[in-house]
């Protein structure tokens, strides 16, 4: 098992938005999807997923409806709303800029200062 990283504050929302941007998913599916695309390198507290989902729905970024799961069970599916799409793009852009800046700082060698 590769070493897992604790989730950075505030990044869970972005990951959820990313996960559902690829297609409607139920809560457990979102968890699996994030683990899958992070290649199991991220540790997500299962219990913290749902408050995040409810918050995002309350804010209007994602919407939910009841549907049928792969093994024919009733499950609540979440999908990205138009507002959520915009929000995700803005967040992702911000994150990338931030990551660049931080990576740049960390790469700096003493000679460059």
């Amino acid at each position: 098992m590769t070493k897992q990283i604790d989730l950075l504050q505030g990044t869970l929302d972005m990951l959820i938005l990313k996960a559902v941007s690829l297609g409607p998913l139920h809560g457990y599916g979102i968890l699996l999807r994030i683990q899958q695309i992070s290649k199991d390198r991220l540790e997500i507290q299962q219990g913290s997923l749902y408050p995040a989902l409810y918050r995002l729905e309350h804010q209007g970024w994602i919407a939910s409806e009841w549907g049928e799961s792969e093994n024919r069970r009733k499950a609540k599916y979440y999908r990205l709303t138009t507002a959520g799409k915009r929000r995700f793009q803005a967040e992702a852009e911000k994150w990338n800029r931030m990551a660049d800046v931080i990576a740049g700082i960390l790469r700096t060698t003493p000679e460059q200062v």
Binding site: G47, E57, H58, K74
Partner: protein, 902 residues
């Protein structure tokens, strides 16, 4: 959009909370089971899998709670918590809460009361169809008959010509209201004096009123002899006849003659529409001689008219002016007489109009003072709470949370204040109705005006929000560390917020001074009005009225005999000193008579001498205790057969006999030769009299006017004006009221069908005269007291706060040798400065209100220097006392201990 979806989500969440909870359960169960199945797929045993799934998920209940919060379901719970906390905070400072609630209640209550009353009195549309078409027509004459500055009614022939020649009116009616003896012929049997409306067929049609039962009068029934029919009000129908459905055809005895009831009218005619008292009975207007040409000078009828649709008041006025000018040219008696038209709705408050405006001004000031006071209180409270807020912010309360909590607190305060204000308004309106029913009968039916209540409530709410929340924003933005570092001392309030508070107090002071000056002026005016001498001895004097109807008292001789008998019987009663049957007594006479005085030739109608006139018996002077200045009193020897004699007042003497001795001079009671109409056709006097005495002046034109010339004659000698309307004035040894039943018994022994009506003492008659002034004065004084109380609270609050803040500095001063008196002065000076600036502004305000005040005052200047100085001095004194209370605390400081504290 975002807000909407949030709101919808929140609403949905709250409304379907149960459903949401079960959905949440289902969702979480699905998660756990799906995970467990995956684990089973990986070879974990079923039991083991479920356990691991639950373990790795973490606390399910905690998750659920977090989910609910994320969705905003907790709003209600938070609100309840804030509410609970607010109540506790308000209870913890009962002083602040009480004063703030009372301040709000006073502002809301006073304004709701006064504006509701004003709306009912002046603004509300009349209860008639197309009521803006309704007008009254007045006859205006150059000052002569306008003793009270009120326009007089026109004469019937003039109105007939107006109706024939004008194009502005659908119809014009002439009517009147008379005191009559009414006997319902029921078991009680006591006759009563009631006011009866004498109205033509068109009266109800002009107003647009249909009878509930029965029919309107016909044109034919306006003729004498055919007029023995009556309409009664629904009120009377219910109270006297228990709503008897067979009411039509029943009879009422009016002035001893039977009238058949033909209609029941709805109770929609406000009392002020009918001159005098509110009529409950109407009979046809059957005065054949009112329409004869000889009555063209007989003015004073009440009128009602309806404009044609689309005709403006100005057009109608222009129309009438042209006709009046033509009539003046055609008829000598109409010379100099014009016509004026007024909207009926504008005639309803009459002389009270300026008082109502004054009260509106006063309550507006109260609302302002209340808002200023509230602002002041909230500023003080919140600056004292900055430390508490800072602590809570430091402990992690968000700005939103703090603001929300202050908002809830402010709302709670405003709602409680509003509720108490509503109660105050109810009490206020109830007492208004009790205080003033005689002059303003409309007031009895005033309800709370909800628009005004809402408006005043919103104004106070806005104030509380502005001043309750602004510091919260400033406060939460304050540096936490700074606020906490202040340690045990109360938190800072910057110099700017202190300045705001000072300005607020100055404003309060200024406005309360305006109210104080106004109230003082009115009180002084009313004292002047009531304490002035009437010119008679006012105490132990009783007045009662009788009416001897023509059906049993057809000629002057019978009337004279009855009156003399009645007065003699009353004089014989134990406890009665004297009694006189008279139409003349203070404070109002109201019977103005044209005179022809030798040596005063006149050719123009407006130059004709006139005087207050009336008839009495020989006991007139003695009973009223009017001094005889010159000549002789009436005597028993002055009889029907002897030459008629008259008593004139000193003012009469001055005006018409400035250089000669009037005793023995003959004058003619009645218009001069060129206006005379054949004897027998007129209803006014037409007799030569000899002046035998000059008597002291007494009030005969109202309390607020100096006495008019007065001439008094004996009714026995003036059969033309010896009418059935008579008053008896009785001088008693002790309180006259217990004698009333015995006097009434004596009257009924002479004639059991004549009521003894309108019995009042002279003191009561004088008070009734000043009723509206008393009313305004009482209200304005209570407003001034309330305003002053609020201002005192304001200045006290600011000074206490300053003292607390400056304790440190003051201790240092004392420690360094400043005398305590000096230190106290430092504190007092602050209060005095604010009061002085406020007083200066207030005096300027009172000065600028002099035009409004001037109209309401009697014998006091609206800028009376004594009142101004006194009110200002009083305000300063109150301010000093309010500042001295916290100031004295400074003197109790032990500087050593105070300085050690830090």
């Amino acid at each position: 959009m975002r807000l909407w979806s949030r709101l919808r989500s929140w609403l949905g969440a709250n409304l379907r909370r149960a459903r949401m909870d079960s959905e949440m359960d289902a969702e979480l169960r699905f998660h756990l089971e799906a995970y467990a199945e995956d684990l089973i797929g990986n070879g974990v045993s079923r039991q083991q899998a479920l356990r691991r799934a639950r373990l790795e998920f973490g606390g399910v209940d905690k998750t659920k709670e977090e989910c609910r919060e994320a969705r905003g379901v907790r709003f209600i719970e938070t609100l309840m918590r804030d509410l609970h906390y607010s109540m506790r905070a308000l209870r913890k400072s009962p002083g602040f809460t009480t004063v703030a609630v009372l301040t709000l209640a006073l502002g809301i209550g006073a304004n709701t009361t006064i504006f509701s009353a004003v709306d009912a009195l002046m603004l509300r549309p009349l209860p008639f169809p197309a009521s803006n078409e309704l007008v009254r027509i007045y006859s205006i004459q150059q000052g002569m008959f306008n003793t009270f500055g009120n326009p007089d009614g026109p004469s019937a022939p003039d109105v007939r010509d107006f109706a024939e020649r004008s194009h502005s009116f659908q119809s014009i009616v002439v009517y009147d209201t008379w005191r009559k003896n009414v006997n319902f012929g029921d078991a009680a049997g006591e006759p009563e004096q009631m006011s009866v409306g004498l109205v033509p067929a068109g009266y109800f049609e002009v107003l647009g009123i249909r009878p509930i039962v029965g029919r309107l009068f016909t044109e034919e029934e306006n003729q004498e002899g055919k007029n023995y029919i009556a309409a009664i009000s629904a009120l009377l129908w219910r109270s006297r006849y228990a709503g008897d459905p067979l009411i039509l055809g029943r009879k009422i005895r009016i002035n001893g003659e039977p009238y058949t009831i033909v209609a029941v009218m709805p109770d929609v005619i406000p009392a002020w529409v009918e001159p005098g008292r509110h009529s409950q009975i109407w009979t046809p207007f059957a005065f054949s001689d009112a329409w004869s040409e000889s009555s063209r000078g007989g003015r004073g009828w009440a009128t009602l008219a309806r404009l044609r649709p689309g005709v403006s008041l100005e057009q109608a006025q222009a129309d009438l002016s042209v006709i009046a000018a033509a009539l003046a040219a055609e008829h000598p008696v109409d010379e100099g007489v014009g016509a004026a038209v007024k909207r009926l709705a504008d005639t309803r408050v009459g002389a009270l109009r300026p008082m109502l405006f004054l009260l509106i001004g006063a309550v507006s000031l109260i609302l302002l003072i209340a808002c200023v006071n509230l602002a002041n209180l909230l500023l003080a409270r919140n600056s004292a709470r900055q430390r508490e807020l800072a602590v809570r912010a430091a402990l992690g309360a968000g700005r939103g949370g703090l603001v929300r909590q202050l908002l809830v607190e402010t709302l709670v305060l405003s709602l409680v204040g509003g509720a108490v204000g509503l109660v105050l308004a109810r009490i206020g309106l109830a007492s208004l109705a009790r205080m003033h029913t005689e002059e303003l009968p409309q007031l009895t039916s005033v309800g709370i005006d909800w628009r005004v209540l809402a408006f005043t409530f919103l104004v106070s709410l806005a104030t509380s929000l502005l001043f309750g929340l602004a510091p919260a924003f400033m406060g939460t933005r304050l540096n936490l560390v700074d606020a906490l570092k202040q340690g045990g001392r109360s938190a800072t309030s910057g110099p700017s917020s202190q300045r705001v508070r000072n300005i607020l107090v100055v404003t309060e002071m200024a406005m309360s001074l305006i109210l104080l000056v106004g109230a003082t002026l009115l009180v002084r005016s009313i004292i002047r009005l009531e304490r002035q001498s009437l010119g008679i001895r006012q105490d132990h004097l009783l007045r009662g009225r009788i009416y001897l109807p023509p059906v049993r008292y057809a000629d002057a001789g019978t009337i004279t005999r009855f009156c003399d008998d009645f007065a003699a019987r009353v004089r014989a009663l134990p406890g009665v000193i004297n009694a006189t049957v008279t139409t003349v007594y203070p404070p109002n006479n109201g019977w103005i008579q044209m005179l022809d005085i030798p040596g005063h030739p006149v050719t123009r109608i407006q130059d004709i001498p006139s005087a207050q006139f009336g008839v009495a018996d020989a006991h007139f002077l003695a009973a009223l205790e009017i001094p005889l200045i010159r000549g002789r009193d009436f005597a028993a020897s002055d009889s029907v057969t002897s030459p008629p004699v008259a008593l004139i007042s000193q003012e009469f003497n001055r005006r018409y006999f400035p250089t000669e001795d009037p005793i023995g001079r003959k004058i003619h009671i009645g218009p001069p030769q060129f206006l005379r109409i054949p004897r027998g056709e007129n209803t006014s006097d037409d007799t030569d009299v000899t002046i035998v005495g000059v008597v002291g002046d007494f009030k005969n034109a109202g309390l607020a006017h100096s006495p008019d010339p007065q001439i008094t004659v004996l009714y026995a000698q003036h059969p033309l004006v010896n009418y059935g309307f008579k008053d008896i004035v009785i001088r008693t040894a002790a309180d006259p009221n217990p004698l009333v039943p015995e006097i009434r018994r004596q009257l009924h022994e002479l004639d059991s069908d004549v009521p003894f009506a309108d019995v009042h003492t002279m003191d009561e008659l004088v008070q009734a005269e000043t009723g509206s002034q008393r009313f305004t004065t009482l209200l304005l004084s209570s407003f001034a007291a309330a305003g002053l109380a609020l201002a005192v609270v304001g200045i006290y609050g600011v000074i206490s706060f300053l003292v607390t803040q400056r304790k440190q500095e003051l201790s240092v001063r004392i420690a360094l040798g400043a005398s305590r008196a000096n230190v106290l002065w430092l504190v007092l000076k602050q209060g005095l400065e604010m009061a002085a600036i406020g007083a200066a502004i207030g005096l300027a305000g009172a000065w600028s209100a002099q035009r409004l005040m001037g109209r309401l005052l009697f014998g006091v200047s609206p800028v009376d220097p004594l009142t101004f100085a006194g009110a200002a001095a009083f305000l300063l004194a109150v301010a000093v006392i309010a500042s001295a209370i916290p100031g004295v605390r400074v003197l109790q400081i032990d500087p050593a201990q105070m300085l050690r504290q830090d």
